[in-house]
Amino acid sequence: MSKLFSDKTKQVFLGPLSKNNPITVQVLGICSALAVTANLKPALVMGISVTVIVAFSNVIISLLRNTIPNRIRIIVQLVVVAALVTVVSEFLKAFAYDVSVQLSVYIGLIITNCILMGRLEAFAMANKPWESFVDGLGNGFGYAVILVVVGIFRELLGAGSLLGFRIIPQSFYDAGYMNNGLMMMPPMALILVACIIWWHRSKNKELQE
């Protein structure tokens, strides 16, 4: 285990959770962060799916990294990701149909997620499979954390519920409280992400430009 989790690997895993977060610092995957965070549930599902796919495509690209011709490397990465996502979605359709119905919207979003291309290009092309796998997990979790935080705020303030369960009691509404419909719109996700980045940078002075 000591070899598996050397200091460098630990750094690779923990970095994306804070100092090198894919959304707040690398500014990757913003588009999908806007699209799926109106409710908490799709945010969770998307976070988990991206984590799995980025980890495994990182491993595959890392294994192939010495054979990939430089000029078509982006195409190769895209083919690997698209093939992986398609195979997984086919298996889900056959053995976990309900999950695949839930995911249907996100399949396309996963393939085109900038985090995947970013990590494959920046990390997996230059590192060994195990480190790449850990890097994929770390970045996936880093992405998921932000999605979940934004999802909680948007669903709570926009619909008064979490995961579909009512949180804000009816008595509040009777007293004149209203759901903020703006929270349901994509621009609000952008503002929330910006607030998170603001908070994050004020905590980590070295990230300030």
Partner: protein, 239 residues
């Protein structure tokens, strides 16, 4: 080895594409039957949901056989073309919608819920990003809505996708699709505060205007095909 040579790049790309194509073809072929069975089972669940029957954790096949007593195929003049089992179930409504009204084969599921007859009509339409669909159950008078089920392929989560949620679907219950003069008028999906003179209305989804319009159009198009069937006198009719 030099991985920058043109020859290497070409061969690499070709081999990669062939391997991936074979793999995808194999996976798709091997899983086809299981997937089709799932799609059929899911359709049965959707039909049951329009009757407001909870299928969660239950054998949907058994429930379907229990509640759905007849599957009819009719034409636009309400003449029954077939009563054979599975024939209505296998009708591809999307294909029928592209044909002329006179030659369309229209499926109707006849259900028996607590001794009362319900008619279930299949709905197909388009939302903002892709197809939307649903089932609508009518009471025996062929006018009052007993329940609805809507779903979608890729509407925006939190906005248009809410057509698949109970709060939107429950609004339809008890509304009438025929006017006082017994003409087919469908149901309007409108912003809160708006109203029409002839139609009964439900509230549209805020932020999901195009999806809401899609639902309205789908109801008009799909129910409209059954015009003759809806206006047939029924034994226990209220009109």
């Amino acid at each position: 080895m030099d991985t920058n040579k043109n020859g290497y790049t070409l061969i690499y790309a070709t081999v990669m594409v062939v391997i991936v194509a074979l793999m995808l073809a194999f996976v798709s072929g091997a899983l086809k039957d299981t997937q089709n069975a799932n799609v059929k089972l899911d359709k049965k669940k959707q039909i049951l949901k329009s009757l407001q029957i909870d299928t969660e954790g239950q054998d949907a096949d058994a429930l379907y056989n229990k509640y759905i007593v007849k599957e009819l195929v009719v034409n636009s003049k309400a003449e029954v073309l077939s009563e054979k089992k599975d024939e209505a179930f296998d009708v591809d409504v999307n294909k029928e919608l592209s044909k002329k009204l006179e030659v369309r084969r229209l499926p109707i599921y006849v259900a028996n819920v607590d001794g009362k007859t319900k008619y279930i009509i299949t709905l197909r339409g388009t939302g903002l990003w892709g197809p939307i669909w649903g089932y609508l159950a009518l009471d025996e008078d062929r006018n009052t809505i007993f329940g609805t089920f809507f779903s979608h392929a890729s509407e925006t989560p939190g906005l248009g996708a809410n057509i698949a949620d109970p709060p939107f679907q429950k609004q339809f219950i008890g509304k009438h699709i025929l006017s006082d003069k017994n003409e087919f008028v469908s149901i309007a999906v409108l912003k809160a505060g708006q109203a029409t003179k002839t139609q009964e209305k439900v509230d549209a989804l805020s932020g999901g205007t195009i999806t809401s319009k899609g639902v309205e159009k789908m109801l008009l198009n799909c129910l409209g095909q059954y015009d003759q069937f809806l206006q047939q006198p029924t034994s226990g009719g209220t009109k």
